[in-house]
Subunit: 242 residues, 2 copies
C-alpha cells in the first residue's frame, strides 16, 4: 500500500488509524425470507437465542465477518438456514439506531429473500425454524418487527415493477398460482380475466404445453417465465404520480 504524505492529502496510514479508533461498531445482516404456501405469504422466523427476548421470534441473521462482502454474508445466512444456494436476495435497508441491540452497538443490513418453499421443505431439519403467515407476525425480537414491515412493504411495491414473484413459485406454474401469489402478496383480490390478460399481453410467459396434474378439476396450462426476453428489453419507467 502506497504511503507518501503531501501537504493537503492524507496518507493511507493516517486514515487507517482514524478508522481503527472508530472500530467499536459491529455489523450484522438480517434476512427476511419469504415463502408462498397454501396460498399464503409466509416468512421464516426462528426463536430468538438471546435471553432478553426469550420466547420472541426473530429474523435470521448473523454478524458480518471482517473479510466478507455484505452480500456474501447474507447468502451465507440463507444457505445456513435453508440449505439453498442461489436464491433471490436483495438488500433493502440498513438499521442503525444506537440502542437497537441490547448487547452493544450493532448495525444491521436487512435483506429480502424469496424462496420456493417446495425446495426448502426438502432441506428443513430444524424445528426452531418455522414459517409464519405474514398476517400474524407481531412483536418480534429487537427491532425486527420494524425490519420485517419495511421489507414486506418493499416487496409489495417491488413485485409490481419487477419479476420477483416467480422466485416464490415452482419453475412451471399455472396462471392461477401466479394470481394467487400476487393476491397474497398484495393482500387484495384481483380480477381473474384482467390478470390473465395483463400477463399474456406482457409476452413474458412461455407456454410449455404442459398441464397441471393431480388437480380435482380441469387442469390449467403451465408456464415458465422468460427471463431471457425480460433481460433484453430494458424497460424505461416514466409517469409522475403521487
Amino acid at each position: 500500500m502506497p504511503n507518501n504524505l503531501t501537504a493537503v492529502t492524507k496518507s493511507i496510514k493516517s486514515v487507517e488509524s482514524e478508522i481503527k479508533k472508530k472500530k467499536s461498531i459491529a455489523l450484522s445482516v438480517d434476512c427476511v425470507i419469504f415463502g408462498f404456501d397454501e396460498n399464503k405469504l409466509k416468512v421464516l422466523l426462528i426463536r430468538s437465542d438471546v435471553d432478553e427476548f426469550k420466547g420472541k421470534m426473530s429474523l435470521l441473521g448473523d454478524l458480518l465477518h471482517p473479510d466478507e462482502d455484505l452480500d456474501v454474508a447474507a447468502n451465507r445466512v440463507l444457505k445456513k438456514r435453508t440449505g439453498l444456494n442461489s436464491v433471490y436476495l436483495e438488500q433493502v435497508h440498513t438499521f442503525g439506531a444506537v440502542k437497537r441491540h441490547p448487547a452493544g452497538r450493532v448495525i444491521t443490513v436487512a435483506y429480502c429473500s424469496l424462496i420456493n418453499i417446495q425446495h426448502y421443505k426438502l432441506e428443513v431439519t430444524d424445528n426452531e425454524l418455522h414459517w409464519h403467515d405474514v398476517e400474524t407476525v407481531k412483536e418480534l425480537a429487537f427491532d425486527h418487527q420494524q425490519i420485517f414491515e419495511t421489507c414486506y412493504q418493499w416487496l409489495q411495491k417491488r413485485v409490481q415493477e419487477h419479476p420477483l414473484g416467480f422466485s416464490l413459485l415452482p419453475k412451471k406454474f399455472s396462471l392461477r398460482e401466479l394470481q394467487n401469489l400476487y393476491a397474497a402478496i398484495l393482500g387484495m383480490e384481483l380480477d381473474r380475466r384482467n390478470f390473465r390478460k395483463k400477463f399474456q399481453a406482457m409476452g413474458l410467459l412461455i407456454d410449455i404445453n404442459e398441464m397441471e396434474k393431480d388437480v380435482n378439476n380441469r387442469p390449467g396450462k403451465l408456464y415458465k417465465f422468460d427471463y431471457n426476453k425480460y433481460n433484453k428489453n430494458s424497460k424505461k419507467w416514466v409517469g409522475i404520480d403521487f
Copy 2:
C-alpha cells in the same frame, strides 16, 4: 461454523463478547447532495483528501461515531458541509465490498440529499467544495462513482412517485421552474401543457396569488406545495407493470 440451531438461549454477556470479536469493521456515511441551478441538476463534490485518489473528486462523508445514529451522522455531514440543518435526506443503499476502501474495511451507507441551492450559496465558504453538473460526473474516488449512479437512478425513480423535488426549489416556485426541474432530473423534455395539467389535477399546489418578479417576459404565477394535504391522503400504489 457450528450449526447451533437449538433452543438454548445466550446471555447478553456472551453475545457481547461475540460482538467484540467482530469489531474490526468501520462504518461511514456518504451523502450524494443534489442541487438545482441554471436548469441543471448538480451534485456537490469535494476533492478527495486521500493520497491514493489525489485529484479525484469524492462524495461528502465521514466515519460514523460509535454512539451516533446513522441518520444523525448523515445529518452531521450535511450540516458540516453545507451549513444546512433540516434538509431532505434519505438512505439509499449500503455498500460493503471488502476492498472498497484502500485503508481497511469500511462499509458505507449512502444517503441522498436534496437542497435548495439558494440557501446553500449563503453559507458556502470552502473552495474545495464544488457543484458539478450530473452529466459530467465521472471517475470519482473509491467506489463513489457507483454510489453516485445508484443514488441518481434512485432519485429519478423516486421523484416520480413522491414529492421530493420541491426540496430543490424555493418555497415559492412557478410551474415553469417545476417543469425545468423534472426535465433536468429525468433527462428528457416534457410537454408543457400536459405537465401543467397533471400537476393541476393533483390538487397539491397552492396558488398563492403572487407572480414572478424580475423576469424578461410575462411573469408566471407562484405556487407552494401543499404538504399538509399530501400527508393526509395516503396513496396506495397498484398496477403490475414490468
